[in-house]
């Protein structure tokens, strides 16, 4: 613990903070009095941003905080670490518990982070071309962005899909579209990540069938399914069914995956969207890892073994503007997950303890104004992710706030990663910032803050219960409003938006019209004329029957009521995303959230 030896006689002096809540050495005290104090007298510190609100302390002195509002000291020294601090005790070594310094003993020397650019737009045909382009440009994995109808489980010709087809991602209606999407791409050799949640098992089934048709071995294919429904209720709001049946579908994929696709990550527990919705870095960390806890609890209740599915759990974090706060977040996340898996769940398999994660730079931090400046922002954010030891990375395109990326913008984003990997030198040594007083202090604060949130969520009875009472949603809404207020008061500066503003012309963007909707509608019509609709109906009925039963893990197989095999069957008969999700809607109903503003 850090001692709280306050020195009241200097409470209102500008150097009071040197003595508060820490244990400065005599030399540091002397520095503060002899060197710092006269400097501050001559030139008082000025906040970054307007000298109001969050930028002033109660004595009217300049206050400095991270983008999440965490107070930052002028200088960090040994006095900001616990008195019993040692690298051996608090950090360990890379590849060893508690994994603060990384999960690999050789860092990036043996394997660089995977450069995985999230991409998808318009039709499967057009996206297939973009994928081939990204792979030829040196991208090392794919990441599929689906359009909103697909994310919400509607076919392109559904009334609710009007105006949305192909706009925010690629439109996928049936196995036929998935075959086109991966045409000419070897799925045994390419790792593919799919950002899909409520209908995750449906799209995954389509992927598995395409892989099988290519002759790929399910045991060898690797990739990641986002499949994180909890953060949908918390932040992104693309949910279909109520929480309990949604959780059941997720656990079905865990169970299926650990038997049939041992190299596929069946979930990517995501803080990215929580952060984009306006949370602080700490909330992102805490809610995400606690979502992980909730999935483990549900899987254990099913009767699954933690060391069997645990190694397939992966994570996904945001890389926001505040450089050191982000690095601390990743380091603390590894440490927390290790402790939780080992101590709370009794995991014995070392692979279960490892918090492996993907990172994406913060879309929300990239304004539409002077968009080229975003290239610099993305580079810094991506650098934080790499210094934090990410396993894979997506760098946003500079035109993020305007539309889906143009080909040029997508290429610059990928090049930014390559410059970090091949030119900057930061990948040559492991956790190069480890041992920094500042970073280690932030990492410990993050860890402590994370566990404080864990206690609150435990007391509420878990994350599903907390979501139902709107707790994480309220925390995030409050943080996002406070940030917006501070930004508009210029207490937080965004270059080109509230400072250094210029008049400018609008840039060239990728514009998607309604042609894709027409094409997809025509394809669906042809498909429904060509396939056996009776067979589809029969398989959907079988799925509904299984979905209505309570699954229970069996010793040497998967639960007889696991929905995955039934969904795969339906997919093989070319049942559409909309039809399969509709069948499940009939069994589970839909969810409407209580609105919080």
């Amino acid at each position: 613990m850090m001692p709280k030896d306050k020195t009241p006689q200097v409470a209102e002096s500008p150097i009071a903070d040197v003595f508060e809540g820490r244990h400065p050495s005599d030399a540091e005290k002397q520095w503060a009095e002899k060197t710092l104090a006269p400097t501050l007298e001559k030139a008082p510190e000025k906040p970054i941003g307007a000298a109001t609100g969050v930028n002033l302390d109660e004595h009217g002195h300049a206050k400095f905080t991270t983008i999440s509002g965490v107070p930052i000291r002028r200088l960090y020294t040994q006095a900001d670490l616990p008195e019993d601090w040692s690298a051996e005790k608090y950090l360990g070594f890379p590849g060893q518990a508690p994994y603060t310094r990384g999960i690999h003993a050789s860092g990036y020397r043996g394997k660089l982070f995977t450069m995985r650019q999230f991409s998808g737009f318009a039709s499967p045909e057009e996206t297939n071309q973009r994928y081939k382009y990204l792979l030829q440009s040196g991208g090392s994995g794919l990441s599929v962005a689906f359009d909103l109808p697909t994310l919400m489980g509607y076919d392109s010709d559904h009334a609710a899909s009007e105006g949305e087809v192909g706009k925010c991602g690629v439109a996928i209606d049936s196995l036929e579209d998935m075959e086109i999407l991966f045409d000419g791409i070897d799925l045994e050799k390419t790792t593919v990540s799919m950002t899909i949640n409520s209908p995750a098992s449906v799209l995954w089934a389509m992927y598995l069938v395409v892989a099988e048709k290519q002759g790929a071995d399910w045991k060898k294919i690797s990739g990641t399914l986002q499949n994180d429904i909890l953060k949908e209720y918390i932040a992104q709001k693309e949910y279909i069914y109520p929480p309990a049946p949604s959780m059941r579908l997720v656990i079905d994929t865990f169970e299926f995956g650990s038997k049939f696709t041992p190299k596929f990550n069946t979930i990517s527990i995501s803080g990215y969207h929580i952060r984009e919705a306006g949370s602080t870095a700490l909330q992102e960390l805490a809610f995400t890892l606690y979502d992980g806890v909730e999935y483990v609890e549900w899987a254990l209740r099913r009767g699954l073994e933690v060391d069997e599915f645990g190694p397939r759990l992966s994570f996904f974090f945001n890389a926001h503007n505040d450089f050191f706060e982000e690095i601390a977040k990743y380091r603390a996340a590894r440490k927390i997950w290790y402790q939780v898996m080992k101590n709370r769940f009794g995991a014995k398999n070392q692979r279960t303890w490892l918090m492996r994660f993907h990172t994406q730079t913060a879309g929300v931090s990239l304004p539409a104004q002077q968009p080229m400046n975003n290239i610099a922002r993305v580079a810094l954010q991506a650098l934080a992710a790499v210094l934090g030891g990410t396993q894979s990375l997506h760098t946003d395109s500079y035109d993020e706030a305007l539309a889906l990326p143009t080909e040029e913008a997508a290429r610059i984003a990928l090049r930014t990663q390559q410059i970090i990997a091949y030119e900057s030198g930061v990948t040559q040594t492991i956790d190069p910032l480890g041992g920094s007083y500042f970073l280690e202090n932030l990492t410990l604060q993050m860890e402590q803050g994370g566990f404080d949130y864990f206690n609150k969520l435990d007391a509420m009875g878990g994350m599903v219960k907390a979501i139902e009472r709107g707790y994480p949603q309220k925390e995030i809404a409050e943080a996002s409003y406070q940030y917006q207020r501070a930004a508009e008061a210029k207490e937080k500066i965004t270059v080109g938006v509230n400072e250094f503003v210029i008049e400018e012309e609008s840039p060239h963007i990728l514009y998607i019209d309604e042609t894709v909707a027409k094409q997809q509608t025509a394809k669906l019509k042809a498909l429904r004329g060509r396939r056996s609709n009776e067979e589809v109906a029969r398989r959907l009925n079988a799925l509904k029957k299984a979905a209505a039963q309570e699954p229970k893990a069996e010793a040497n197989g998967i639960s007889p009521a696991n929905t995955m095999p039934y969904i795969i069957d339906a997919v093989r008969a070319y049942a559409t995303v909309g039809e399969i999700c509709e069948a499940l809607r009939e069994v589970y109903g839909t969810y409407t959230e209580v609105s919080i503003t």
Binding site: L148, G163, K167, C168, G278, Q369, L402, A403, I596, T597
Partner: protein, 138 residues
């Protein structure tokens, strides 16, 4: 007209669930003294216009980030005309490409707030443009 009398319906039509902007704006308008009704997610144009009629709002704020504005906004404007609600002003916020702005304004949208618009500017715009009702506002 007095701020306390301005009633705003903030709605999020379409399939998109990114509601950060809608919620921040709802709170900012409320903090500015307006009465705000937030509809929640995935409202159809019919639901939005019917809620606006029932709640007797002066302003409808639509938050659209997905690119579906060209399908959604015309239907809202048509329904307002059919219900003789031309005294309700409609403002749209979100990711709206420059090339679509003229057409949206042509169909009667009072203002389009693109990314980076200050909350305060939205409050000022609404105060300056809200249309008076039959009963004099105090």
């Amino acid at each position: 007209m007095a701020d306390s009398k301005i009633r705003v319906l903030v709605a999020k039509p379409g399939l998109d669930g990114h509601d950060r902007g809608a919620k921040v704006i709802a709170r900012a308008l409320r903090d500015a003294g307006m009465e705000v009704i937030y509809t929640g997610l995935r409202q159809t144009p019919e639901m939005i216009v019917s809620a606006s009629l029932q709640e007797d709002v002066h302003v409808i704020g639509l938050s659209i980030l997905s690119g579906a504005h060209n399908a959604i906004v015309p239907r809202v404007m048509d329904l307002l005309r059919q219900n003789k609600m031309e005294d309700v002003i409609v403002v749209v916020g979100g990711i709206i490409p420059d090339q679509d702005i003229a057409a949206l304004k042509q169909m009667g949208v009072a203002a389009i707030f693109q990314p980076g618009t200050a909350m305060d500017d939205i409050v000022k715009f609404i105060r300056a443009n809200v249309k008076p009702r039959g009963v004099p506002a105090v």
